[in-house]
Amino acid sequence: MVLRIISDVFVAVGAFFALAGVVGLLRMPDAYTRMQSSTNIVTLGLLGAVIGGLLHAIGVVVEGNPTLGWTQFVKIAIVGFFAILTNPIAAHSICKAAYKHGVRPDKDFACDKYGEDEFDE
């Protein structure tokens, strides 16, 4: 029962950060800040819910259904591990693609080292 309460707290924290990320995605002024806010959805929103799900699966094991509990545990761990591993790669590549495609912030860059490197070549 205590495990259930802790897992619900983790899921609630994840839902809060996902809500914050979606509000940022809707209200931020330009493309780069929106990307930052969508990264917030994956790292904290998904990770909180996945940790809560892992604790919930352990609770299923404790309550006397080990086959179902361990299956859920391994699959949720795969989902969380894969999302945490791949999302920084996707965010980095889409950010570089946005720069090369010509997307610029609302105010101009304070510091544009990547553009200077492109210009030097």
Binding site: L26, A31, R34, V42, V79, F82, I89, I94, A97, H101
Partner: protein, 84 residues
């Protein structure tokens, strides 16, 4: 158990809110990022619904959704860079 269903419904609602950004985003990058967020949020909703219903098939779908979403994002990025 019902609280997991409530949280899954909340995540689906947040995914629907992301569709607003998909429809009105000024550049293609905004649309791609918002679509990836929809993918991740539905992923979490599937995990929570699998825990609620106690069936493993939803977790398989969640794994496949995560992999396909990552591949789609990287493909869009490579296309925008002009390397495809």
């Amino acid at each position: 158990m019902i609280e997991l269903l409530c949280f899954a419904a909340l995540y689906v609602l947040l995914a629907l809110l992301c569709l607003v950004r998909v429809s009105k985003g000024p550049s293609v990058v905004d649309r791609a990022v918002a679509a990836d967020s929809v993918d991740v949020l539905l992923d979490v909703a599937l995990v929570l619904f699998a825990l609620y219903s106690g069936r493993g098939i939803y977790l398989d779908i969640a794994i496949v959704t995560a992999i396909v979403g990552f591949l789609g994002m990287v493909w869009v990025a490579r296309y925008l860079e002009g390397r495809m």
